[in-house]
Symmetry: C2
Subunit: 230 residues, 2 copies
């Protein structure tokens, strides 16, 4: 197998990621079409919260794999984005406000008592993937963000249209992610293109991204099955 050109490699990542991205999951399709019940929206927010808590953990593992202060200075911003500079700031706090906005008890959400086993397995698998694989594969697994700005922009419109009972102020997480995910994914794709130096390494990066899409998919599977109406 010969090395893919940067353009061909990016196209491979884009195509494999896009084909499996969780916006095609039936539960997600129904979410954006306004077909979810309040209980289903709540279950998704409470379960996806566990995924959100895993992001700074996996990003700290990514940091720990790099010997390059310049890379770490860029990547560390992702942790600050999620944890905030102060109590009440950052993506996790925004997600907690979203939880309140859909009518959940934030304390209960933080206790993770509503997190389904399948969701836990999938999210923990993401942390484990990052822990075990090489730095470039770990970075490649973050490339689902490549597709998230569009989905976030659509989600804001969909929720404002279909779920008027959700406090619109609490959609701040989705709003913030549109520009952040764009910048994060640009940095990550640059890194992956420059550091996957053999075809085998390129293929391992594609595989890491595919596994990541499977993780996001499995999360929705679990929420979908647990909240299916009889």
């Amino acid at each position: 197998m010969s090395l893919l050109s940067p353009d061909a490699f990016v196209e491979r990542l884009r195509a494999e990621g896009e084909a499996r991205y969780h916006d095609k999951h039936p539960f997600h399709v129904r979410m954006h079409a306004g077909e979810l019940s309040r209980a289903q929206i709540q279950a998704w927010v409470a379960n996806r919260y566990y995924y959100q808590t895993r992001i700074p953990v996996k990003d700290a593992l990514v940091l720990s794999k790099s010997d390059d202060p310049a890379f770490r200075r860029v990547w560390i911003r992702r942790i600050v984005d999620h944890d905030g500079e102060r109590e009440g700031e950052g993506g996790l706090a925004q997600w907690e406000r979203l939880a309140a906005g859909v009518g959940l008890d934030v304390f209960e959400v933080r206790c993770l008592s509503r997190v389904l086993p399948g969701v836990r397995f999938a999210c923990d698998a993401y942390v484990q993937l990052v822990r075990e694989r090489s730095l470039v594969e770990a970075v490649a697994s973050s490339l689902t963000e490549f597709f998230s700005p569009d989905i976030m922009a659509k989600r804001i419109v969909a929720w404002e249209t279909h779920y008027p009972w959700v406090d619109g102020e609490t959609l701040a997480y989705f709003r913030a992610r549109v520009s952040r995910a764009r910048q994060d994914s640009r940095e990550a794709i640059d890194y992956v293109v420059h550091h996957a130096r053999s075809r085998e390494e390129q293929e391992r990066c594609v595989a890491a991204l595919v596994t990541k899409t499977e993780i996001l998919w499995a999360l929705l599977d679990a929420v979908d099955r647990a909240t299916a109406e009889p």
Copy 2:
């Protein structure tokens, strides 16, 4: 074994750490007494650089072990302290300036070509300790900083007195560490005292700190043996 009171536990940590702290190592004693040759100072700076490079890596592993954004917001500052906010800032860059100040080629230092096997083993053992042990033990292993403000203050005077050929401006790393280490170790000791909840856990924290002192000691052993005059 019954739980030690906070005061007794802190005293245990202090006594065990102090008794083994590397300021008592013969090489270190000679450093502060002005008895090291230029080649020995250079070897210490080039080898200790590898230890410095491991600090942000182990601190990222500490971060990855915590589920608490409040803890991570405090601890992440250690990584920023070492990597800087921008190229040329932070403890690693300061150490590189120290390397230049003692007459080393900074590029060669960065390549780690002068790092002795024993130094590598010891520093890698520190990262591995943090990777494998619990969060509270990993934090406890950082408590050698408890003793470092005094040593740094003495080192600045000793170097300015005995090694006038070292550019005094390049001692900035030591100067910065006096106040940083004081704050860092206060935060760490608070964490350890509140989170070691059984006597067994307290003893594991003491053991982690002891291993850390052995790591710093082994680093000096390796440099001492490699640079001993015939």
